[in-house]
């Protein structure tokens, strides 16, 4: 059986807390978690809500829109799967969570803090993925 058949995605290093995020990418959705008890959103996956400690949560689809909070341009050493220089951005999503994503396809010198970006979906090899573009 392939990983896609067992977990619904091909991300190489995941566990049962993170699987939903990669499955979302397979269906072209950028997912966060929403606490079922207090409705707090969280992006970096976690089994529990840090606000109310509830273990219950549901998938919450993000719009993909946000503004760059910080960024880095990776130059060295070579990166598996990416051309360098490679921009990576940390984005404050309009829903209020922060999401880290790649911004390849945008010239690195155009990346700036505060710029509006929007996510779109792609595949990298057999792994479903997303990246940000200028909005």
């Amino acid at each position: 059986m392939t990983a896609t058949e067992t977990r619904g995605h091909n991300a190489p290093c995941s566990n049962r807390d993170f699987d939903f995020f990669y499955r979302g990418l397979e269906s072209g959705r950028l997912l966060a978690q929403r606490c079922s008890r207090c409705a707090t959103l969280r992006s970096l996956p976690s089994p529990a809500c840090g606000q109310c400690q509830s273990l219950e949560w549901e998938e919450f689809e993000l719009s993909g829109e946000g503004r760059v909070f910080s960024y880095t341009i990776h130059h060295h050493p070579p990166l598996p799967g990416f051309a360098v220089p490679h921009p990576v951005v940390l984005v404050d999503m309009i829903e209020g969570v922060r999401l880290l994503g790649p911004m390849d396809g945008t010239p690195p010198d155009e990346v700036a803090i505060g710029m509006s970006v929007r996510a779109d979906f792609t595949r990298r090899g057999d792994v479903a993925a997303f990246r940000f573009r200028k909005a």
Binding site: F18, H75, L90, R124
Partner: protein, 388 residues
């Protein structure tokens, strides 16, 4: 003051040479450093009954213990978080000795980080542990190296503080200036200029090559005993005035991107608050410091977090010469990990011991109290060491 403040002391230290290829096993490096530390202290190997090191150290404590001819190991512990561990084994030793669990605790860090494996390589294809799934989640975006993770943090620090890469260059120049007069430093006799820093290749914007620590082979060890015992030994006791770990909310392993301030600040401030309370000291009481420089720019938020200047003021504090020997806070007199070697901060602990004994090559006159810190941008640790 905390129960263990000044109740224990570093009685000896030892180190191998620092190189790009040690030519021997990591275990041998560890054993050489431990034996040198014991000889320095004048303590027989058979007296060692405690060991504390980093989880990232590849040398089993029982193997080190076997090699040195240990007899009865009663306390052994390890601290995670890579270079964030540095001062935590000192805390472990101080607690174990103060509680009566052990009497002679050895702390070591030994690595062939340049010749056998390199931390700067992209992290991928890892087993799905709780830490690795976070690295992989960020790694799928191409954020795969410590330099890029720190670059993300420092870019935002620059935005908030107004600091520039040119400001960061001042630290690199200082570290290499100190290394240039330290014969143990890899960059002995090789100072750099601001222009050299600015012209060095980009590694992970905003970090240039000369912002990054070296890759090194080598080992450092220290021996901790009770203050009472230390006073009867051959070296001047270097007391552990305070030792703390810091990992406030939102601190993750080079991945703390989800808290308000993503600069390597909060964890340092948290450790600092504990240190000053434990020791009954203030930042103004610190005569000199070893601040962890995995990446030189991290020193800037570190100076602010440990209370030596206000938030955003480190760029002026550094430029004004405060970190020079003879300045307000002489810093990293061994050359730091940019200039001397990268031994996960343990070579900085050794430098603090030399400074406090008055035997350093770049000696700060009259230094009695020093701050030593561990890697930031990860759950961290720090200590205040002092002499009478």
């Amino acid at each position: 003051m905390t129960h263990f403040s000044s109740k224990t002391a570093i009685a000896g230290y030892g180190a191998t040479e620092f190189s790009k290829n040690s030519g021997r096993s990591e275990l041998r490096l560890a054993v050489e450093a431990v034996l040198a530390a014991l000889a320095d202290a004048g303590i027989a190997a058979g007296e060692v009954d405690g060991i504390s090191t980093y989880t990232m150290d590849n040398n089993g404590e029982q193997e080190v213990f076997r090699a040195i001819g240990g007899r009865n190991l009663k306390f052994f512990s390890r601290i995670a978080q890579g270079g964030g561990a540095t001062c935590a084994p000192l805390q472990q030793a101080a607690m174990a000795i103060t509680c009566g669990i052990a009497d002679v605790v050895v702390v070591y860090r030994a690595m062939n980080e340049r010749s056998e494996y390199r931390f700067g390589q992209p992290m991928h294809a890892l087993p799905p542990t709780s830490d690795n799934v976070v690295f992989a989640y960020h790694g799928m975006s191409g954020l795969m190296t410590p330099a890029a993770m720190m670059g993300m943090m420092m870019r935002r620090y620059m935005q908030d503080s107004g600091a520039t890469s040119h400001d960061f260059a001042h630290y690199a120049v200082l570290a290499r200036k100190h290394a240039a007069t330290n014969p143990q430093a890899f960059f002995y006799g090789k100072p750099i200029t601001i222009e050299d820093h600015q012209a060095s290749r980009m590694i992970a914007d905003p970090l240039h090559l000369l912002d990054c620590c070296q890759e090194s082979d080598g080992a450092v060890a220290v021996v901790v005993v009770s203050a009472e015992r230390a006073r009867d030994l051959r070296q001047k006791p270097v007391y552990i005035r305070a030792a703390a770990q810091g990992s406030p909310a939102g601190t993750l392993g080079l991945s703390g991107f989800y808290r308000d301030n993503i600069a390597p600040y909060d964890e340092c401030a948290a450790a600092g608050r504990q240190l000053y309370a434990q020791a009954g000291l203030m930042p103004k009481d610190i005569d000199a410091a070893i601040l962890y420089d995995h990446f030189g720019p991290s020193v800037f938020p570190g100076l602010e977090a440990y209370g030596f200047c206000e938030k955003g003021e480190a760029k002026a504090f550094v430029k004004d010469g405060n970190l020079e020997i003879g300045g307000r806070l002489p810093l990293n007199m061994h050359g730091g990990q940019l200039g001397e070697a990268y031994i996960h901060g343990m070579n900085g602990v050794a430098e603090a011991v030399r400074q406090l004994r008055g035997t350093a090559v770049n000696q700060v006159p009259g230094v009695r109290t020093m701050l030593v810190t561990a890697g930031s941008g990860v759950p961290t640790s720090a200590a205040i060491l002092g002499v009478d």
